[in-house]
Each structure stands twice: as structure tokens, then as C-alpha cells.
């Protein structure tokens, strides 16, 4: 009715302090802890045991089933043990602890994969251990394999990086332009139905927009679309709408509207694997936040503990309150500094005590800021009320009526709330109860 309008309207601070810092390669950590579940899907199955010698890039856990991903040793050394690891999200998964010998010896069998057709391309991606590096962690091979189902016309390369502080995607675009280029070439070759590649990049990264425009100046299929610097541009459904105008219906996937979204760093890792055969064992992690002495980008082996990473960067400058895997909008807090970074950790945000202290919530004044800001057009206040409804059936009906599952927990509503209401927390609770309720009904 009012024509095309960008979704996402929340002004949040950017804090892209490390945008101009190319990643520094980390010195080998003393040990790494590699959880078997760093992705959406079934946890991988360990194929090594305590005492085994491993080398960088050696397979240590193979995928369990279709929606899963293999895990490779990120340092050379000795497997100490296979232990239970309590993930920040509360799930316990097995994890392999490896003591590094400090040599980072490469495995002998690393060689570029043979890629000749679509199936071998997908198999190569599966073996690379690549999962959505933007944070979702969905196995990339499964996502690309879904291309078979539908007619993918458009590929969106997500370089929005809308989280405050994080600049690892920024650095990929600036430092790894060549692999991004190779990645597009691969997609063009193996997914011939695609006639459009759109880079969605927030306007607060003009140097990335320029760089991508320069690299792809001779490719008419590729367009670079600057997005407004309004949170949450990088959310999948939002970036699809803002770049193509297509709406992904509730409960459907981007593939259902002929779109594939891939994170720009995932694309570059994919291209690098096809070229070198080196699986995903290290990644760029942005270290930033008010408690850190030296914010920087670090190229760190996956599984490195937060403690060793922070020590490498120069330690804390003041007492640390919260340590987040990711940025402050959607980041998950670590319970202690020994927790490892995983494939999906794009950054570590360490906040000082002042920034970490949550203000006491006050009464909802019905100001409507959350309704106005929600990119999905939801009304967060109804969920906050609905989760307190006494009767279970009534509560579930209410939550579904207001489409609670459309919420992607971007945090914009809680961010703007002047009463500091824990809206996202209420929604998470609502979603979890609804999910359990449905499961129970199904099993009856």
C-alpha cells in the first residue's frame, strides 16, 4: 500500500571498533575442546579415543546422519579425553579435548576434493565441516542440497553483519575477496538455475560495498545492495525481503520462494576448501567489548577457550561481568572462561560490570516502542502477557494465535523497551512451552 519499504527499523550502536584490523593469527593454544554439536542437527560421532595422536585437519568425528557435520582436529597433539560439555544453551554434548603439541602439524591426507558435478560439490561441502557461520550453524551441505527440491533463482550473500562489535564478516570481504569471488564462481557452475547473486551489506561498511563492487564489476549476475544500518538487516527473512521483496511465508523456507541465503564468510570458507582441501578448523573471531584491553580480530583454532583467546589479545582491562559468544544483541553468555569457541562463534564480547548489570524491570507503560520496532510485525506485549495465562490450553492457543513462532529472537523489542521488560525471555519461554506441548500431544 505504501510501496516497498525496508524492514528493520531499530537504531542500535554499531561499535565496529575492529573493522580496520585484519585478523592476527593466534599462537597455538595449549589445548582445545571440540564439542560434537557445533551445528543444528545430530551431534557428530567421535572416531578417535583418548591417547590418539591427531594432526591439524584430521577427522576426529564423523557426521551422524544427513543433517549433521564432521569435526576436524584444529591443533596437532594428543586426545586427552572425550568428556561431557554443557553448552551455553543448556544442552550437554560429548566433546573431545586435545592437548596441543604447539607444532600445528598438518594432516598428510589434506588434498583438494574432486568436484565435477552437483553431487560431488555437495559431498565436498559436507566433508569440509562447513556450517552457517553467521551464527545459525545449519550444515551448509544440507542447505545447498535443498536446491534439488526447488528452483533456486536468487542467491543472497549475507554480509549485513548487523550485530554490534562483530567485524569478522567485514574482514572476510576485505581480506578474502578472492575466495568470495571463487565461491560465486562455484555456485554459478553447480547451481545453474541461479540468475542473480545479491550481496546485502549494511551501509555502515562502505569499504566492503566498494570492495565487492570492484571484485564483481565484470559479472552482470552479481549486484551489491547497500542496506540501511538498521537492526536486524542480517536476519534471513529480513534480508530476503529487503534485497528481493519476497516474503517467506510462516513455516516455510527461503528455498520455497526460490532463494538461498549464504553468509559471506561461509561462502569464502567453501571456496577455500574446494581449492585447498583444508577443512574448517579455524575462524576469524572478533574480540571486543568494554572489558577488553585490546579489541582485535583473531584467527583462532576452533575449540580454543575464551581464556586463552583473551590472554592472547592482551587480557582484560577491568573486571569482566559478562562474556558473550557473539554480539550483545543475540549473543549467548558463557558461564566461565574455559568454554571454547565453536564454528559459529564470530566474536567474543566481554563487557565490564557496569555494562553487564541488568536494570530492574518496571511496569509496561504500553508505549508501543516494541510493536513499532518488531521487524516481523509482532506485538511482543501480548506474548509477555500470554505466557502468564493460567490454563495451559488457553495459553498455547493464545501464543499460536499471535504467531509466536515467527519471532526470531533478534532482541530489538527488549532493546527499545524503556521499562526494561524481559520480552525476548518471555517469548523464549512461550516458544519452549509450545514446542513441548506439541510434542506431548503428538506422543499421546
Amino acid at each position: 500500500m505504501f510501496g516497498f519499504k525496508f524492514l528493520g527499523r531499530t537504531h542500535i550502536p554499531h561499535h565496529k571498533n575492529t573493522a580496520e584490523m585484519p585478523p592476527v593469527k593466534m599462537t597455538p593454544p595449549k589445548e582445545v575442546l571440540l564439542p560434537m554439536s557445533q551445528h543444528i542437527g545430530a551431534p557428530a560421532t567421535p572416531v578417535v579415543k583418548a591417547g590418539d595422536e591427531v594432526k591439524v585437519g584430521q577427522l576426529i568425528a564423523e557426521p551422524t546422519g544427513y543433517v549433521s557435520s564432521p569435526i576436524y582436529a584444529s591443533v596437532s597433539g594428543k586426545v586427552l579425553k572425550i568428556e561431557d560439555y554443557l553448552r551455553p544453551d543448556g544442552k550437554t554434548v560429548p566433546a573431545i579435548r586435545i592437548a596441543s603439541d604447539g607444532l600445528m602439524t598438518l594432516a598428510e591426507d589434506i588434498a583438494p576434493p574432486t568436484v565435477s558435478d552437483f553431487d560431488s560439490f555437495i559431498e565436498a561441502i559436507r566433508l569440509s565441516g562447513l556450517v552457517g557461520l553467521g551464527g545459525a550453524g545449519f550444515p551448509t551441505s544440507v542447505k545447498l542440497d535443498a536446491v534439488k527440491r526447488g528452483d533456486i533463482k536468487t542467491v543472497i550473500i549475507n554480509g549485513a553483519e548487523c550485530e554490534p562489535y562483530l567485524t569478522s564478516d567485514t574482514r572476510t570481504m576485505l581480506d578474502d575477496g578472492e575466495s568470495v569471488f571463487d565461491g560465486i564462481t562455484l555456485l554459478e557452475k553447480y547451481i545453474p538455475s541461479v540468475d542473480k547473486f545479491i550481496f546485502g551489506i549494511e551501509k555502515n561498511k562502505p569499504e566492503c560495498i566498494e570492495e565487492m563492487a570492484r571484485i564483481f564489476r565484470d559479472n552482470p549476475k552479481v549486484s551489491i545492495l547497500p542496506l540501511p544500518s538498521l537492526y536486524p538487516q542480517g536476519a534471513e527473512k529480513i534480508i530476503i525481503y529487503n534485497t528481493t521483496g519476497l516474503v517467506v511465508p510462516e513455516g516455510k523456507l527461503p528455498a520455497d520462494v526460490g532463494v538461498l541465503v549464504i553468509n559471506v564468510t561461509s561462502l569464502s570458507v567453501l571456496a577455500k576448501y574446494v581449492k585447498t582441501g583444508m577443512p574448517l578448523v579455524e575462524r576469524c573471531v572478533t574480540l571486543d567489548g568494554s572489558a577488553l584491553a585490546n579489541p582485535m580480530n583473531v584467527l583462532a583454532p576452533i575449540g580454543t577457550s575464551v581464556r586463552e583467546l583473551v590472554e592472547f589479545s592482551g587480557g582484560f582491562k577491568e573486571e569482566v561481568g559478562k562474556v558473550l559468544f557473539g554480539g550483545p544483541m543475540m549473543g549467548v553468555p558463557a558461564a566461565n572462561l574455559d568454554e571454547p569457541i565453536t564454528k559459529t562463534t564470530g566474536g567474543i564480547t566481554a563487557m565490564n560490570i557496569k555494562d553487564s548489570t541488568e536494570q530492574e524491570p518496571t511496569a509496561c507503560i504500553h508505549c508501543g516502542r516494541c510493536v513499532e520496532t518488531c521487524p516481523m510485525g509482532l506485538n511482543p506485549t501480548v506474548f509477555a502477557k500470554a505466557v502468564n495465562i493460567e490454563g495451559l490450553e488457553d495459553r498455547m492457543a493464545r501464543l499460536e494465535e499471535y504467531s509466536i513462532n515467527l519471532c526470531m529472537e533478534c532482541g530489538a523489542c527488549s532493546f527499545v523497551c524503556p521499562a526494561r521488560r524481559p520480552l525476548v525471555q518471555s517469548i523464549r519461554l512461550g516458544k519452549a512451552t509450545l514446542r513441548n506441548h506439541k510434542l506431548t500431544n503428538k506422543n499421546k
Binding site: V247, K252, P333, V371, G377, G411, P418, R420
Partner: protein, 320 residues
């Protein structure tokens, strides 16, 4: 252990708080407050002090008695007190102010659960309560200009009695407040200044006052057939005060943007209907209360279809 704080995302919040919003409203009311004291003198100051003081004190005492967390720090009681004071006539006595304030805070707000839970605007309800209980305090004339005006009637009452434009105060007087009316509603220019401040600070949206005032003006024009008289309708009563400071109250208006627009239109429409066809010369407080009650329904009718939700599917009992 490292004593890390663990909480759910987001871990970043805007600087705006309820306290800051209420403080902005108080700042926006400063010009009108200053104008009322200039125009009505000490009498206005006493009314303001009585209302604000009683509002804050009664909320404090209610929370104390009900063993609730103390909430006077959010300044909302100050705002209610000040708006109530500004919408009263200079004839109001201190005890009337006290009764009105206690009614606004204790009956309308606290008994319904405090800030955010009241269904009607406390200041507007208290004003209507006082007007109905003590009919004499509706009008009132600035002390300094008493001789200029005819017997303290408000311009709206004069229009109601069939006065023509030339018998009314000059339009300039209507802007600066040289006319009969409640202490804070006569100086319209001060109210508009405060309103612009609130819009600039993004505390209120511009649509509500513009739609409300536009509706009053256009409908009055359509019925009276005289643009000057319509302008008097706009500046003569409490419409400006209500449009900027009461119809924009978050709690008692729909939460969604389009809902707020409909709310504003409804306020304007009912105001004109009461003024033109009812027995009261002024009707904006009644209009506001009426729309406050409709507010939850408007909110429901105007709720947006979430992004990606199909248009036809209606979640309901049939599906279950």
C-alpha cells in the same frame, strides 16, 4: 569459577527509560505551567502545588499501605498531577484539587494495578469527576484580563450561546492565553511549544495531535461553515492540551500506530459532536474517556498481520 554474569539476550539496551520519558513530559509542560502562573498568578501556583503534591503523596502512601514497591520515582504521578492542575479552573479550591488528585491516583490508577494498568487517563477522569461534582470550576478567567472578558465565560460557552466572531477575544489573545478557561489550557502557544518538544524527542508521534486537531477543525468548519469560528473551536477549549498531552498517553491508547490514529480521529469526532449537539460547551475530556474505553478494541482491530503470515488463515476454534 570466573563469576560471570549469565542472562538472556539482548545484552544491550536503549538509554531511554520510563523515568526519562516522564521527565520529558514534565519539561514539555514547563511553558504551559509558566504561562498559567503568569496569567492566573498565585492561584495557579497553589493549584499546581496542591495537585502535584497530592498525587505524589497519595501514590507513595498507597504503595506503602499495599506493601508494593515504591514507584513515585518514575515521575508518572508528577505528570498526572501537573496535567490535572493545568486542566482545572482558577476557581478550584485546594480541597477540590486534593480530592481530584486522590481520585486520579488512588481510584483510577493504583487500584487498577498502578502505572500501565489503568484503562482511563487519570487526569482526564479526575477532571471529569470534578466538573460533574462541582460544576462551578469548569471556567475561569485570567486575573489580569478579567475586565477584558465578559464575565469569565469561556469562548466556547460564548459560541454556544450564539456569539459571533467579533464578540470573542481576538485570535492573538487566544494564542497567548488572554481568555477564559482552565489555568493551563488558555495559553495555546505554550502547549504547542511543549508538544513540538515531545515530538522532536520522539516521546509522542505527530499523528495523534495532528489528526485530533485536524478533525476538530475540519468538522467544526463543516458544521459552522465559518473558518474563524472553527479556529476558535480549536483554540478555545482544552483540545490543544488534550491533543498533545492526554490523547498521547501511552497506557490508555491503542499500542499500534494505526490504532492511535483512529483513536485520535475518534476523540476529535466525539468532541465536535458533544460541542455541537450536546449540552456542554466543552466535550474533549468526555471524548477522551469514551475513546479510552474503546481503546482495547481499536487495538485489536488494528493489529498488524505479522510478516509472512498468510492472510486467509484465521487461528480459531474451528481449526482446533
Amino acid at each position: 569459577m570466573d563469576n560471570l554474569i549469565v542472562s538472556t539476550s539482548p545484552h544491550l539496551h536503549t538509554k531511554t527509560t520510563t523515568h526519562k520519558i516522564m521527565r520529558d513530559v514534565l519539561i514539555a509542560l514547563l511553558p504551559a505551567t509558566a504561562a498559567s502562573i503568569t496569567l492566573f498568578g498565585l492561584k495557579a501556583l497553589i493549584i499546581i502545588a496542591a495537585c502535584v503534591g497530592t498525587c505524589v503523596l497519595s501514590e507513595f502512601l498507597f504503595n506503602l499501605a499495599a506493601k508494593k514497591k515504591q514507584t513515585v520515582g518514575d515521575l508518572s504521578a508528577c505528570v498526572t498531577g501537573l496535567i490535572l492542575a493545568l486542566s482545572l479552573s482558577a476557581k478550584a479550591s485546594v480541597w477540590q484539587c486534593v480530592v481530584g488528585s486522590v481520585f486520579a491516583i488512588v481510584v483510577v490508577k493504583c487500584m487498577f494495578g498502578g502505572l500501565g494498568c489503568n484503562f482511563a487517563n487519570p487526569a482526564a477522569t479526575a477532571r471529569v469527576f470534578l466538573i460533574t461534582a462541582f460544576a462551578s470550576i469548569a471556567g475561569g478567567t485570567p486575573t489580569e484580563f478579567q475586565n477584558v472578558l465578559t464575565a469569565g465565560a469561556t469562548p466556547l460557552a460564548a459560541i454556544k450561546d450564539g456569539a459571533q466572531a467579533k464578540e470573542l477575544p481576538a485570535l492573538l489573545d487566544m494564542l497567548i492565553g488572554n481568555r477564559g478557561g482552565a489555568i493551563g489550557e488558555t495559553c495555546t502557544i505554550a502547549l504547542i511549544l511543549g508538544g513540538i518538544y515531545l515530538i522532536a524527542r520522539k516521546v509522542i508521534n505527530w499523528q495523534t495531535p495532528v489528526i485530533l486537531l485536524g478533525t476538530v477543525f475540519l468538522l467544526s468548519f463543516a458544521i459552522e461553515g465559518d473558518a474563524t469560528l472553527a479556529l476558535y473551536e480549536l483554540l478555545g477549549g482544552g483540545v490543544i492540551l488534550v491533543a498533545f498531552f492526554m490523547a498521547t498517553d501511552y497506557v490508555t491508547t491503542p499500542i499500534n500506530k494505526y490504532g492511535r490514529m483512529i483513536f485520535a480521529f475518534g476523540c476529535g469526532l466525539i468532541t465536535v459532536l458533544i460541542r455541537q449537539f450536546g449540552s456542554y460547551p466543552e466535550g474533549v475530556s468526555f471524548a477522551l474517556l469514551f475513546m479510552n474505553i474503546l481503546s482495547p478494541y481499536i487495538e485489536k482491530w488494528c493489529s498488524k498481520r505479522p510478516f509472512g503470515k498468510s492472510a486467509v488463515k484465521k487461528a480459531g476454534k474451528e481449526g482446533a
